[in-house]
Amino acid sequence: MNSYHHLDSSTLIGYSAGSLPEAFRAVVSAHLSICAHCRTQLLDADRVGGQLMSQQEGVPLPAAARDSLLKRLAQSPVSSPAHREAPPRVHDPDRLPEPLWPYFGRSYSGLRWRTIGPGVHHIRSQVRDGNLMLLRIAPGRSVPMHSHGGNELTMILQGAYDDSLGHFAPGDVADLDCDIEHQPATSPGVPCVCVAATDLPLRFSGWLARALQPLFKM
């Protein structure tokens, strides 16, 4: 799958550092599972982490820890040097990206959508921090103009949408800054399904948006 809209490098740093809220980590993992370009970027981010970790002056470990490590070493089995094969990536159009399975289940057909507005359905997931949800917007609709008080990260799973930033198709991520105001319009044909993480409620502008706001509660 070719993605043209990738993760922002600041997001990759957060992922590499283990400092992203869990909702964002889920969306980043989903994108990484299909995007070799971003996996390469992540390796660079991990190199930075490794460098920072090893540049620090260490904190002495207790002397007893050394002996206990040596004991555990003797009992520790050695794994085979052969590279473990990644699970085969079977193409199944009903299958969600693997990193989303724990949050939403494995298949699109098993999803239980809730209506939150005309042509708009969603499913929220329980995460430790942030908001994580699936959104399904009917084809040929436009979402009210809104901006974000915080961060928003969206990955397109099915269908497509357009906004001032471009065309977003399956695999693409919209890694939005808080200052960007946008009004996505879904493409005709099939509903647009995406997974989105936010850390603050969206702020809609305009009277329609204000009317929809209580429905979205995102």
Binding site: D8, S9, S10, I13, G14, S16, A17, G18, S19, P21, R25, A26, S29, L32, S33, R39, T40, L43, D44, A45, D46, R47, V48, G49, G50, Q51, L52, M53, S54, Q55, Q56, E57, G58, P60, P62, A65, R66, L69, R72, S76, P77, V78, S80, P81, A82, H83, R84, A86, E98, P99, W101, P102, Y103, R128, G150, N151, D177, C178, D179, D199
Partner: protein
């Protein structure tokens, strides 16, 4: 490829005690030295080489985990677990792809997310370190280049402007989210992100200098 760099007859003790803020003295020989220790662990289950790695990196891993506010007893246990994973998986280590510090960082970071933050879902993509490595088109990557990258990165970190260096360290060494950093420094969220973006571009330029 390790065969072309035999272990030095006399292994010198490695005493690199530096603070992050000091100019770095890391040389290509240092990175190569650690790759050689790892090769000996992988090939011959060499306990002495393994303990040399432990004595050098163990205390650094401990400081890293304590910086993430892991309680000391648990941090010490995670250092042991990280080192046992290194012992068990040494055969998968490939110095041409990532330095030993990158490898250990990934192991420790994953253990932190898994055990401390209890985010079991993290395992789905992250636990297989080699799975993530599969992405790289590392055809032209030879080990000497990888070692040189390592040193260039150290220099690039040392040359970051103060604000950017601070944001990078708060992210990595204190595990603070962008929003937490923005709040703590009274800086708009957008500036936190754009500064991190600029820092990353500089660090990447350090990794891949213009040909």
């Amino acid at each position: 490829m390790m065969a072309t760099h035999p272990l030095p007859a006399k292994v010198r003790p490695f005493e690199a005690k530096r603070r992050v803020t000091e100019p770095s003295g890391q040389t290509i020989e240092d990175a190569r030295y650690w790759a050689q220790q790892m090769a000996a662990v992988a090939a011959g289950r060499d306990v002495d080489c393994f303990m040399r790695i432990y004595d050098h990196y163990g205390p650094r891993l401990l400081r890293y985990l304590l910086g993430l506010r892991v309680v000391p007893a648990q941090a010490e246990e995670l250092v042991q677990e990280a080192m046992l994973r290194l012992w068990r998986g040494a055969g998968q280590f490939d110095p041409a792809r990532a330095s030993l510090s990158t490898w250990l960082f990934r192991i420790a970071r994953n253990l932190y997310l898994d055990r401390v933050r209890a985010e079991p879902h993290w395992r789905e993509v992250q636990d297989g370190l080699e799975w993530l490595d599969r992405c790289e088109a590392d055809g032209e990557d030879n080990s000497t280049e990888a070692f040189a990258d390592h040193v260039r990165l150290t220099n690039a970190i040392d040359r970051l402007p103060a604000v950017q260096a601070r944001l990078v360290r708060m992210s990595y060494l204190e595990s603070k989210s962008h929003s937490e950093i923005a709040q703590e420094l009274g800086m708009p969220l957008g500036s936190v992100k754009s500064n991190l973006r600029r820092a990353f571009a500089k660090l990447q330029a350090g990794l891949r200098p213009a040909p």
